[in-house]
Subunit: 369 residues, 2 copies
């Protein structure tokens, strides 16, 4: 663990046992399907290497990242694992993929041709994942491109299709008609292509039922504590805890404004606590005047604007025995989850996770850490 | 420079000559005052070490950071410089401050006592900055604490007050009455304390006129291209450029939705370009459906939601000779500045800078780089 004094006392605790428990729960829910781990964006902000080690120890043997650089960063942490790169290979990077035994996700005809050519050069059929777009309109073969491959399967001759995949757009809303549409399009596509194992579900997709699970499920957010079923209680274990000390406690007895823009005015007798965490730490500025924290069991509101390195909390109602300089405040905890903070910030838990800053002293617990 | 292929082709270019030019302009504007460089939050997201080297080469000899860890990170890059830590020393960290010749900003009576004790232990008067709160209600001596020190200046006996400082809350609004109030409070405070050099102005404060400049000005954001005078044209040079390739180009000729939540529906014939940058890279999710980019001189709107690793742009009006896979799109540039993106995201340029992600291939130009 880094020295908390270097971060003015702020501590980000990441519970790797909770990550492993979430993996096991998702894996059991997915029943016969293999359960991969999505660890892009530095393991959703939690640190890709410790997360990969914990997931591998829990039985995970397939990992997904977005970029080649992210795959290379975790290769040593999971030397035997399958590592897939969702963005595929940038033109010219195919040899580096092959050298490090990485699976590109093939999103286009150009990518298919380039990967087949790499296989020819290497004298082998190289494995890959073939991505069919069924409703994200983002990555993956379009309808026209699918027609081309279906009409000429020889395009895939040099490639071992390890999985045929697609990606759901609204899986967290089970009643949304697009889920069934995407499922139907995926079924139609795979009927037209050479037989291969299949993968469709992200975290929320696992809970849409057995029809959506296929051979491989690909949870990300739920591993890190985000609720994959927003309309139900969260079955995932809480993973992240952020604590920071009261850096300064200020009693105000005459009218004063707090923070930039003078947006918050204190009128009565008040106590304001300043905490060394700000938007440069991923405590989003949109939480200004909207977030809260917990101090010794007391819920305390954030007042004024979030600064780059500091926030201010109104701790007026908290006794001085609890609210004093050095007392630790909980900013992310089981009572104020990443989902709840995301909602207060006008976004969602995913962005709270991936924004977690680099300045905190990070403490990993569990997972053999 | 990192290999752009590892970042699926995304390139963040940081112009250190522009940082140096901004430093010189601010320094000239501040006339007789020394001009420090605020490099907290990893040099506002641009990389503290290259920024410190460029500023030092431009003549800067005093740097401000927020945390001890940030000061230690730049010590070797500016071995002779004065480095001040705005949050001060966490209790017990005073010896480490002294060992590395760091200046704590003393925000409270406890901090004053602890630093004086460190000086006694080291047998010397250690330098520090004394911070008086004049209207931020965040850090610095409160009115009551100021009274205590003014009544008993011996509290400061063991300390060399290198600067007496305060911090402005609304400097970017010259007509706001709080500026004059803070100035008056600062004047009143310094009249009651032992004589020492003084510092009040941040980037925008420099432009409030000579009365606000005192002995040391402390610009941060303006060094990195943020406009310190939002009501006027920006005199600062543009520092940051973010480019990313079209990863996939999709022609859509039947009604389809784009992205998560199916929030954007394409009705006519359209071309959608997918770009490998998302909110995990600090391209804030609040830009969903609101941001834009430039492709070969064409302004192209962001459509649908910002994903973790991807965004989608509507490039329907752009000729195929310009809009093709691999073509580079400008996401941050002189025509779409961090200030403009911040406004579109419902925040400000500062947060765009400090959120700049770790996955981009970073290229430093100028500054002897």
């Amino acid at each position: 663990m880094q020295d908390p004094a270097h971060a003015t006392g702020t501590i980000l605790t990441i519970d790797l046992d909770a990550v492993a428990a979430n993996y096991r729960l998702l894996s059991e829910t997915a029943a016969g399907a293999e359960c991969a781990g999505v660890v892009k964006a530095d393991g959703y902000g939690l640190g890709a290497i410790p997360v990969v080690r914990a997931l591998a120890a829990a039985g995970c043997r397939t990992f997904f990242v977005a970029h080649l650089g992210e795959a290379l960063a975790i290769r040593d942490a999971a030397p035997e694992a399958t590592i897939a790169v969702l963005n595929g290979a940038a033109p010219g990077a195919e040899a580096e993929f092959a050298e490090h035994r990485l699976l590109p996700v093939l999103n286009s005809l150009q990518a298919i041709a380039a990967w087949a050519a790499q296989g020819t050069e290497d004298g082998t059929r190289l494995p890959a994942i073939l991505h069919i777009d069924t409703g994200m309109s983002r990555l993956g073969l379009s309808d026209t491109e699918l027609d081309r491959v279906a009409d000429d399967p020889a395009l895939l001759d040099g490639i071992e299709i390890k999985w045929l995949m697609s990606h759901l757009a609204v899986a967290e809303e089970p009643a949304h008609p697009l889920n069934a549409e995407q499922h139907a399009r995926f079924e139609a596509a795979r009927a037209r292509l050479p037989s291969a194992p299949t993968s469709l579900a992200n975290s929320s997709g696992i809970f849409l039922g057995p029809d959506y699970r296929y051979d491989l499920v690909r949870p990300g957010a739920a591993l890190y504590g985000v609720n994959p079923q927003p309309s139900a209680a969260n079955a995932m274990k809480h993973v992240v805890r952020l604590e920071a000390p009261i850096l300064q406690l200020r009693s105000i007895d005459s009218p004063r404004t707090v923070g930039y823009g003078a947006t918050h005015r204190v009128t009565g007798v008040s106590k304001i606590a300043t905490i060394p965490v700000g938007y440069a730490d991923g405590y989003l500025r949109s939480l200004s005047g909207r977030g809260h924290a917990f101090l010794g069991g007391h819920k305390v509101p954030l007042v004024g604007r979030v600064s780059m390195d500091l926030i201010t909390l109104d701790v007026t109602g908290v006794p001085d025995t609890v609210a004093h300089p050095g007392a630790m405040v909980e900013l992310i905890c089981e009572r104020y989850t990443v989902d709840a903070i995301g909602a207060d910030a006008g976004t969602m838990g995913y962005e709270i996770l991936t924004s977690l800053g680099a300045r905190y002293a990070r403490r990993y617990v569990g997972g053999g850490a």
